[in-house]
């Protein structure tokens, strides 16, 4: 089963519609959390929101994840080593205030962490490869960054 999540804050009808059309043709099993989106999928089951435990369970048990290119979705997929396909939200469709999701999708696609479709028409093709996709795990340096900040804080005098 593929788990489609678009977050609960902002709608993302373009993605749900694209997945719906792909499922209509290829018949993959999909379950979705669609939040504020108004498009109602015909070909798979969808709920408005899930609580955290349910969300985690669907996420963990899915063979693949489809979502927007938000850092929340991306880092969760990497954490659980899940194949992830993203469709970046775009400014030109009024989905977000700038195109930063395109930048991060391109970069992480290049690094082998995820699959990306940049327009809705490309989604169906990319979806076919999703379950077989093996994401490259990501090395981070959060300890070094925290250490840099801690070192800075040691030099800060108290105001009070």
């Amino acid at each position: 089963m593929i788990f489609l999540t678009v977050g609960t804050q902002f709608p993302f009808d373009r993605l749900i519609k694209a997945v719906d059309e792909a499922v209509g043709c290829d018949g993959e099993e999909v379950f979705a959390q669609i939040g504020m989106s108004s498009y109602e999928p015909l070909n798979f089951r969808a709920v408005v929101s899930l609580d955290k435990d349910q969300f985690d369970r669907y996420f963990r048990e899915a063979s693949g994840i489809i979502g927007h290119a938000g850092m929340g979705t991306i880092s969760l997929a990497l954490e659980w080593n899940k194949p992830l396909l993203v469709l970046p939200r775009r400014k030109k469709y009024g989905e977000v205030v700038n195109d930063h999701q395109v930048g991060i999708a391109q970069k992480f696609e290049e690094l082998g962490h995820l699959l990306a479709a940049y327009e809705a028409e490309d989604l169906r093709k990319k979806m076919r490869g999703l379950s077989q996709f093996v994401p490259r795990s990501r090395q981070t340096q959060s300890e070094a960054v925290a250490g840099r900040i801690a070192a800075f804080l040691r030099e800060v005098p108290q105001i009070g």
Binding site: G7, Q9, G70, M71, G72, S75, V97, N98, H100, Q101, G103, I104, Q106, K107, T140, Q141, S142, E143, A144, V145, A146, G147, R148, I149, A150, F152, L153, R154, V156, P157, Q158, I159, G160
Partner: protein, 157 residues
């Protein structure tokens, strides 16, 4: 509890819900031993942070709605005016930017960590706030070359 220099600071930790906050929380080792409080954008993340934390909720905003920006500004300003932090540390977005300016006004040091999602240039908030930062970190090496005040140590997510 104090750090090895006996220097216990009050630190405002500021982030919007979602990716900004998850990046901030990856840095928790940085503020061990200091007195911290949070400014976040939604009530739901209070639970994520834990009941024992001091949390102020500013509401959400983006640059397209000036009234919401004003509301977030007032709420974060109120939190900072009451708490008088020594340092404001933020991973973005708008609420972080606004809080950094307010904090600076009240004499705090400002630490900005630009979100990893900004690959080709710093976020709008980051570009505005970088002039008043005391430490400005970016998560891609190319950005540290592009912006004079920005420093690259590594990525946090």
């Amino acid at each position: 509890m104090t750090d090895i220099h006996g220097n216990r600071l009050k630190i405002a930790l500021v982030a919007s819900s979602g990716g900004h906050l998850s990046q901030l929380l990856k840095l928790r080792d940085a503020w061990q031993g200091h007195d911290v409080f949070y400014i976040v954008t939604t009530d739901v993340v209070k639970e994520k942070l834990g009941a024992d934390k001091r949390v102020y909720v500013s509401g959400e905003c983006n640059r397209q709605n000036i009234f919401r920006v004003a509301n977030v500004f007032l709420r974060s300003a109120r939190a900072i005016r009451c708490e008088r932090p020594d340092v404001v540390l933020s991973t973005g977005a708008a609420v972080g930017c606004l809080s950094c300016f307010v904090g600076k006004w009240f004499g705090a040091r400002v630490v900005w960590v630009d979100s990893i999602t900004n690959v080709n240039r710093m976020s709008l908030s980051g570009r505005m706030v970088r002039y008043i930062t005391d430490l400005c970190l970016v998560q891609w090496p190319s950005l540290a070359q592009k912006y004079k005040r920005a420093e690259y140590v590594g990525n946090i997510i």
